[in-house]
Symmetry: D2
Subunit: 349 residues, 4 copies
Amino acid sequence: MTIRVGIFGASGYTGGELVRLLARHPEVKVAFVTSERHAGRPLAEVFPHLGVLPELTCHPLTDMTLSSECDVAFCALPHLTSMDAVPELLQRGMRVVDLSADFRLQDAGLFQQWYGAPHRASELLREAVYGLPELQQQRERIRSARLIANPGCYPTSILLALAPLLREQAIELDGMVIDSKSGVSGAGRSVAQGSLFCEVSEGFRAYKVTGHRHIPEIEQELGRVAGRPVCIRFTPHLLPQSRGILSTCYVRPRCALTESQWRDMLIDCYRDEPFVRVVPAGQFPSTHQVRGSNYAALGVALDERTGWLMVLSAIDNLVKGAAGQAVQNMNLMLGVEESAGLEQVPLFP
Amino acid sequence: MTIRVGIFGASGYTGGELVRLLARHPEVKVAFVTSERHAGRPLAEVFPHLGVLPELTCHPLTDMTLSSECDVAFCALPHLTSMDAVPELLQRGMRVVDLSADFRLQDAGLFQQWYGAPHRASELLREAVYGLPELQQQRERIRSARLIANPGCYPTSILLALAPLLREQAIELDGMVIDSKSGVSGAGRSVAQGSLFCEVSEGFRAYKVTGHRHIPEIEQELGRVAGRPVCIRFTPHLLPQSRGILSTCYVRPRCALTESQWRDMLIDCYRDEPFVRVVPAGQFPSTHQVRGSNYAALGVALDERTGWLMVLSAIDNLVKGAAGQAVQNMNLMLGVEESAGLEQVPLFP
Amino acid sequence: MTIRVGIFGASGYTGGELVRLLARHPEVKVAFVTSERHAGRPLAEVFPHLGVLPELTCHPLTDMTLSSECDVAFCALPHLTSMDAVPELLQRGMRVVDLSADFRLQDAGLFQQWYGAPHRASELLREAVYGLPELQQQRERIRSARLIANPGCYPTSILLALAPLLREQAIELDGMVIDSKSGVSGAGRSVAQGSLFCEVSEGFRAYKVTGHRHIPEIEQELGRVAGRPVCIRFTPHLLPQSRGILSTCYVRPRCALTESQWRDMLIDCYRDEPFVRVVPAGQFPSTHQVRGSNYAALGVALDERTGWLMVLSAIDNLVKGAAGQAVQNMNLMLGVEESAGLEQVPLFP
Amino acid sequence: MTIRVGIFGASGYTGGELVRLLARHPEVKVAFVTSERHAGRPLAEVFPHLGVLPELTCHPLTDMTLSSECDVAFCALPHLTSMDAVPELLQRGMRVVDLSADFRLQDAGLFQQWYGAPHRASELLREAVYGLPELQQQRERIRSARLIANPGCYPTSILLALAPLLREQAIELDGMVIDSKSGVSGAGRSVAQGSLFCEVSEGFRAYKVTGHRHIPEIEQELGRVAGRPVCIRFTPHLLPQSRGILSTCYVRPRCALTESQWRDMLIDCYRDEPFVRVVPAGQFPSTHQVRGSNYAALGVALDERTGWLMVLSAIDNLVKGAAGQAVQNMNLMLGVEESAGLEQVPLFP
């Protein structure tokens, strides 16, 4: 039986990536795609690299929200827009994977504080399942969910690195420093001066220092794992490259383990995970090791001089950090093999 | 039945790309890989992005040439090295796809002239089949071949662009100008100052102006299609990017067609081809449209002012220009679906 | 005596480059800058790298056109806008270097044909001097000009390569093929999807094939040198880098010279030029050799097999292709040392 | 009076940069350059972008160490090589700016521990002056020095950011986290697989996590300013760009200041410095703001949620982080205007 999917908001990079992955998914048929701005145009005009696929035409959002029939809806709409579309889709009986931030924070007040607007579908926040399958107990919750809040890209990279250590109560909760670096595709395809080639190439800078909206999401999920509130220092930076996130996490151990034992703790935790790989001693993760794929690469280093532990984490922000994780969640929801459609080997160089 | 393949010379970019593609090929098992320089080391140390695959260890070339058993051998060895390995492999009953230049030129004298050394396996030149399936009559010859000379990257991009027009005798044979641009991966993974990041990034230049070794290969195959000798002006350039070739071909029509009719000539020619796509009017091929995939993108423009025709052609030099085409040839040789293992959608951005 | 200059349209890349160069010019004071969009803001907010200079504030265009007093006005306004500002500036007694295309074509009809609008200051076309000092007789005309039409970036790279050969009547006028490649800064700082980092990086494509607006400018000036009409085949391409143009020109000799003699012809022609350098035999120009500087690098290759000659030409499109050439023209107009303020050594890597 | 300088080790990126800067220095004549590997060749073959300068030929190191006469010697030799050349140069009466690490650590034992070999000129360690003029009291010491230990690139970026805060005893000494990112030119021009374009472009990774050799240098100088030992957590990363370092420093305030007051502390400290600029509130330093120039850009952010302070610092690793700082030191030593030859405006884009 083929799963029929609709992609709402297909003209952004995340939307294009969903089409790339789902078009080759063995159990899926992309039934339709929407784009307000490009309604009526072939998707292959919007994304020439998708010209190798059978033709898809962009539909207006509203038409499809109201009329379409599919098994799963992927919402790759902007924040604050998604919350208006999702209730309608659920009501029509679809299961929804929402890639916006709208259903990630469980506390509507916190949402309003960070996103600057009241939540208009807060009754769904309790039901929405945070879709990071590798987090303890989440996989089971995802399987039976109707609505998945697909995690943010930075949170995915950071939670995969730190959740195992917090769960084991192996590190101090306070004083964690997280320095993250992201490729430009994280800013989306909307035209902004700061995303121009000349403004990015051969340059590097921090942005939204102290105030990035992924902070409450990271703290919420780290806190859930730790069983206590967690407060992080988080600085995102913009890399002169298209894809990839690397997070460098500085934490203080609560127990005297060797670097090798810290590595084993991560290896044990992710032993059965299809998409998380701990790199061997002497290596460190690079975004090269995950590009175009749903894999995450983790590495650890113990600083013998200071006693601090560094955990490094690399993902492709558009795949494990967005579209790939969304497909992984869909697979779990529909009882399909978890890695179906996601077995791309990383592309290097 | 699973096809067992060996990859000789797996530590270069082409070798790594063969592993990437073949590891996910539904009918193939990679039986072994060789690397002289890295013999004894896990391939995942040589190529960390391949760490997500089941473990492969690099073997010494000689051991495997003499002892291994597999159905197909891919030779991604350097020019002048391959010609020593291939006869032994054939003798042991394997079918061989050779990715070096050693068996592409049918004339051993011409080979010596351009490659600076006598051919040591010239008895095989007549048997070797030039592995560009889209060239007229080649697909049938490939199916029954024992030894495939896998085409060069520049020749692939250029032959796909011009062969249909020459076959139709629609353009003048003399005065063709071909200006090609390639990503740096075409220079391979060997360490050379000219391939350093700082020497390539934010820079652009021509190289081997008037004397690139792909010239006789291009002229041989264009001449075969045209039925007469062909002489081209060819200049390769080095792009500040990893993957991709774009060739801009300037030719003079012999008949008064409209731009649309020229485009239709290409569309007709490639109607049944799984990997060649002619882009619509108003678009031009970009290397973005083929990255990481086995597709070629072609475009045409008729210069009304001068009467000249431009044909533009984009491929990924490591896929359709090397490893992907090699897999396509293997598929044909072994009677597997031609596109098996090659259905990756281009990766963008 | 200090030269007071005004820069009209300072918020584009060319405007920023004018400020960079003129701020360190020993004889110049930048009296004011204008920007419609950023009127009232410090220029250092618009261009943070200019924060190291004494403060400049952006003024509205109209105010300054009407009221300002300076010796020289640089107009870095968009095409079709400049023609409205220039007459007013001239009337107020300033000398003007116009960096737009508005005064480059001497034929108002041709202008309308290529730029899609009638010329509103066509009475100035006869007076405007095409500001390429290295073209025969232009230097003297520039010295006494009131209005300079600063050449386009592609035309500069191409005219420097071909004018000496045409002047010597050493090459055929018909059948010239010019394949040019430019960095993205040539598209300016205006936000457009095609200029986004993700749409440019790791990609390469042609654009405006057969119809780029620099064609009539190139043909006008080549024709003037040759004394007869010239028709070129010209294709521009977009490089994944910020700065630099490389033009590869394919021409047919009318006389049997050796490669070395062709090189000498260029060397002789440019012997006394401060900014044009012919690279030695065995080397070819790279955009690396000119980045950030006002230099042009030229190279030649004779294709012995075909008899054709290749001339390659590299400039920095924002300097010799725009702002640097404008300063060079100003120096000539005002009797200052021609290379004043323009002695930056190219920046590499 | 012209200062005659010799550049020992001119074929690396730092050497090339010294030539670029010194060739346009108003008080300097580059008397000779050395390169072992390229002895006898024109420097313009080694660095084509220097072809615009009057011709320089590479001499063998030994010849020039023994025989040459100049006022100042710049040593851009590899670590462990410089310590053998410097004593001879001093003995011959030259003043020396050494750009290697050989004279930066005052403790010969510490040197041996981090650089893996005993110091062979340890008698000079006490005399050598650490050449960061912006550090308290260093400018005066530099003026009268015979031997300057030119600081490392990472240390320069970090000391400029943190020294003022330590001097004021405004931050805690323990728990400082410094996350630095550098362009590839920091690895020099020697050919290594890790520096190839394909291995760097579109990738990002940490390296030498916990063990980079700049750690003891940073701690030595921070400790000197603080008056007590300092221990840092430092992780360097490799950026896919040629030039630029950005350091993100996470520290804990010892006093309750506002973000604006922290900024003012830096502004006050650097008020009279020609090359250090604190960016305005709301902006953050980018490597774009300093490329090709001797400027440093600093920014601060106070994280109200956690109480931590972030200080960000951007320099061009080849200029303020190497060659530019060396020229600044020479200017001070010889009583020339401190900014002579160093007034290049940053190049953007």
